[in-house]
Amino acid sequence: MASKRSVIPFGPQHPVLPEPIHIDLITEDEKVVEAVPSIGFVHRGLEHLVTKKDFGEMVYVAERICGICSFGHGYGYVNAVEHIMGIEPTQRAKYIRTLLFELSRMHSHILWLGLMADAFGFESLFMETWKHRERVLDMLEWATGGRVIFSIMRLGGLRKDVPDEILKSFLPELDKIEEGIRACEKAFLSDPAVLSRLKGVGYLSKEDAISLGCEGPFLRASGVARDNRMRGYAAYKDVDFDIITSDDGDSYGRCYVRIQEIYQSASIIRQCIEKIPDEGIYVPIKGFPNGEYMTVIEQPRGGACYYVHASGKKFIERMRVRTPTFANIPALAKTLQGCDVADVPILVVTIDPCISCTER
């Protein structure tokens, strides 16, 4: 006899969700047979604001798309407009942008580790990881004056320089963060209780990850070596790093990739501090942007597209931000098929969902 199907609503309010997303779980007994996601609870219309804000002011709106990857959103918009206007920022500005980008990645990944620990009920591990996140936020504050919204980005470069003394003070902090994360790594990747919640849970094949348009650590954990930093924007072409992948394709693989990327970010920051040239940080801009361009960058959660369409006026016609979480939702729905109902919260967290990015 066929099992009776039931629909279990997941979200928009749920203990593992800091932000609202809703998923209808169609279940047979304890197994999910289909998942239908829906969003739209906190849509803010920030893209539409581009038609009402001066194209220079829009940098600050772009930064406010998200509180975790705010730097990247500001950068993505600025990069697209600079491309349209033919502006080449100075090397120092590019190095500082790269460095701040990587601090944001460390912040985001460590935050995710804490949320993951919280999701599987390991409260002390959650607190331990977020202790290290505080150090990253301190470094961002020393560099920019802000811990969440930095407002250091501007068209043509940066609004303020980061003095070399501050940059050098980052080196011992990075050592301490790496040491702390190595201790946490043992729990995330070796503890039997943790492994029982991660290993083999939420498998996504390499083929599905590619065909469903998956992005970021979610993609790389399925064995696909694609990292948009390899496109060489900002100063990424001047630093050495490899793409971190895992062949596991499950929640463990996603955890592994993010932990390794924290160390990788620390390495990129050290290289930036070592190589940063001493020069100006701003190139003056003239006129209004006229044209269209789409830039693709690697946000902490994955590839993000920033499309700008301008027609030589003060106000831009269209800014479109395709965020990694938006791209990862179809793959999440696929991953949820066949899982146990009890694993749904963990799986939703493994894509590192950012709903404020998704809603814009």
């Binding site: 829906s38 739209g40 348009g213």
Partner: protein
């Protein structure tokens, strides 16, 4: 200024998208832009680090075909475009029928 851009008529959309699929690209994003009284719809596809765009221009009220038979993951982009811009898309595999965005302000915005 957009590299790798092909502008086509909307009635040739599905054939072009099939061609893109055969070339090994996957969907990256779809977005609409309101230019005067028309809408530009930009489809972007990626293969490794290569990006390719297809653009159509339509008048308000024009029905365009869904590409979800070719790229099933495109349903969110198409529903979003319908909700925010009022573009009519026929045959979406997961059609939210205007319910993807639950905004207090009535959509479409543009």
């Amino acid at each position: 200024m957009l590299d790798n851009l092909e502008e086509i008529e909307y009635n040739g959309l599905l054939n072009k998208i099939k061609e893109v699929r055969v070339d090994g690209y996957v969907i990256m994003q779809i977005c609409a832009t309101k230019i005067d009284e028309s809408y530009e719809v930009l489809y972007s596809f990626g293969k490794d680090y290569d990006v390719r765009h297809v653009k159509i221009t339509i008048e308000p009220g024009t029905h365009i075909p869904s590409i979800t038979d070719i790229f099933p993951a495109a349903y969110l982009y198409e529903n979003e475009m319908h909700d925010l811009f009022g573009i009519e898309i026929d045959g979406i595999n997961h059609d939210y029928k205007g319910g993807l965005y639950r905004t207090a302000v009535e959509t479409p915005f543009a």
